[in-house]
């Protein structure tokens, strides 16, 4: 489904602050894979997702999605194939537009522009049905401005929006990190539900090692721009948080320094 072949990204090339954020990373995702990504601060997790989404072009290597070479495809074109959620709930939605307007934008993803009415009757009914499934009562607030919702509500709607026209790949960058624990759990469960239902290939960064092992079918660990661990199947099933931390120490010869991760251990 997705293949990253020897991708490299160097920030501030040729200056004192030069940083190899991605160092010859090769990663293959199979159709329907739900991969969780963990790693310390500055390990290159977000850079990997940004590279795949096209926030910048990679300095070396190639990217393929569903057989199509996307290495130099601009970000907005890639967005037709890739759904994406950020850590910051404010990033995924337009605050001054209503919930239904936001959803209409997302529903248009992949399609062409139209001069037709922005939101038709049928579309509104469909949005209502989708919102009802969230169980947050948002179906009755469709004309409310997005900015009035809480972070968790916004993130839930963003998740709906990202998956409404089903993407080939879903990228989640610690999308529950800014939420309180109860809401975070809700959003994680919702994520699992949607990903499973729509059979979406997913790459999820998380700071929560529990959910890293609990969600999906495969876990990779990154350090210093490289993938240092890639587990799935039985090995992953039998993995404990302790053992995983032990492995990290062994592989990178240092302690895991993701501050948020340590807090949720």
């Amino acid at each position: 489904m997705l293949s990253c072949n020897n991708i490299t990204k160097i920030f501030n090339k040729g200056t004192l602050n030069e940083k190899k954020a991605l160092d010859d990373v090769t990663l293959q995702l199979n159709d329907g894979d739900f991969v969780t990504v963990i790693g310390g601060n500055g390990a290159g997790k977000s850079t990997l997702l940004n590279a795949i989404a096209g926030s910048f072009f990679v300095d070396g290597g190639t990217l393929q999605l569903d057989g199509e070479d996307i290495t130099f495809m601009p970000e907005h074109k890639r967005a037709r194939l890739i759904g994406r959620l950020f850590q910051d709930p404010l990033k995924g939605t337009a605050p001054d537009m209503t919930i239904e307007e936001n959803m209409a934008l997302a529903a248009g993803r992949g399609g062409k522009f139209s001069f037709g009415i922005g939101i038709g009757k049928a579309q509104r009914a469909y949005f209502r049905e989708r919102l009802e499934k969230l169980g947050l009562g948002l179906e009755n607030r469709m004309k409310n401005k997005m900015g009035l919702l809480s972070g968790g509500q916004r993130q839930a709607v963003t998740l709906l929006m990202a998956t409404m026209s089903v993407p080939k790949l879903l990228l989640l960058d610690e999308h529950t990190a800014a939420l309180d624990p109860a809401t975070a759990e809700k959003v994680i469960n919702l994520t699992k539900e949607i990903v499973e239902q729509e059979h979406i290939t997913t790459l999820m960064i998380t700071h929560n090692i529990h959910s890293a092992l609990e969600c999906g079918n495969r876990t990779i660990m990154m350090d210093d721009g490289k993938i240092i661990l890639d587990i799935n199947g039985d090995e992953r099933k039998n993995m404990t948080v302790e053992a995983l931390l032990q492995l990290f120490r062994l592989k990178s010869s240092k302690e895991l320094d993701n501050d948020r991760m340590l807090l949720t251990k």
Partner: protein
């Protein structure tokens, strides 16, 4: 009484013509969140094009061509902003500066074009109604309604939604697979088209076009926009549209009153700037007043408690 009426009539007509500038600024400043200074140039461009066509006996075509030329000017600014990555304010200033020369060329290298005793878009209604001032008002109201309906309808379409979202959250628009650059082209073209239309109609209204008539027009448009928003509100699109018109009319009534009060015409720009400063800082001032009140009551409460 008749004096007051005619005074009101001309302010209202002017307000309606200038409200097209405020519509343009609403699109660039409020929807796209860019202070677009192209406006000073595209307003004059509209006037110049319109006047030139009117002299050649084609007033209506002149208005139409003015809109097209204004849209092109907007596209130039959008190109500088998006493709050449020039800062939005700088991009506007550059287009505006370049337009000065272009406007002079359009006007045949004279700084003023007179349209005295030449048929304009107002002439048909003037013949029909038999009254010059009534025709000015009716014609500009019809034009304004046309523009308002078109703009409101546009922003209700899916494409319009995309443009609105661009100013609101660019990252989100990009991840909805929408080309942000294209949206900026569209928005700036519409905005400057509207501004040029305003210049075009004004030139025919006052029977002259002047190379410097666009100077400071950004400020006038912004002042109108903000005054309107304070009076009418800005909750939804329809309210925005009404606000723009009301704001512009109020602005021109204020200006007319000032002129009557024997204030030097050359001080008008300073006055406009002051009006804008006041209206822009309005929320800050209100908050400060609230804060001081709260502080005062807080102090009083503390005092009474202390006395007990």
């Amino acid at each position: 009484m008749g004096d007051v009426l005619s005074f009101l009539e001309s302010s209202v007509t002017q307000g309606i013509i200038y409200s097209l500038v405020a519509i343009g600024l609403f699109i660039s400043y409020r929807i796209l969140d860019i202070a677009d200074l192209t406006v000073d140039g595209s307003f004059t461009l509209g006037a110049a094009v319109s006047a030139t066509f009117t002299i050649n006996g084609k007033p209506l075509l002149g208005v139409f061509m003015a809109i097209i030329s204004g849209m092109l000017a907007g596209c130039v600014t959008a190109f500088l902003q998006t493709k050449l990555k020039i800062h939005p304010i700088m991009a506007g200033i550059l287009t505006m500066t370049g337009l000065y020369s272009i406007n002079l060329r359009v006007m045949g290298k004279t700084p003023t074009l007179s349209l005295m005793r030449i048929d304009t878009i107002f002439t048909p209604f003037e013949r029909l109604l038999g009254d010059k001032n009534a025709s000015y008002l009716v014609t500009s109201v019809i034009l304004l309604l046309l523009v308002l309906i078109l703009v409101i309808m546009f922003f209700k379409t899916h494409l319009g939604l995309c443009v609105r979202a661009t100013g609101n959250n660019e990252a989100m628009v990009r991840s909805s697979s929408i080309n942000v650059d294209v949206m900026k082209f569209i928005a700036l073209a519409i905005a400057n088209g509207s501004v040029a239309l305003s210049g075009a109609v004004l030139a025919q209204y006052q029977h002259s076009a002047n190379i410097s008539m666009g100077t400071g027009i950004v400020i006038i448009g912004l002042a109108s926009l903000i005054i309107g928003e304070i009076i009418v509100g800005k909750k939804h699109l329809i309210q925005n549209a009404i606000a723009v018109v009301i704001g512009s009319i109020v602005y021109w009534i204020i200006i007319a009153l000032v002129m009557r009060a024997d204030i030097d015409v050359s001080d008008i720009k300073l006055l406009s700037a002051l009006i804008i400063i006041l209206s822009l800082s309005y929320p800050v001032i209100i908050n400060k007043i609230k804060f001081f009140r709260q502080k005062a009551t807080g102090n009083r409460l503390a005092q009474t408690k202390g006395e007990k």
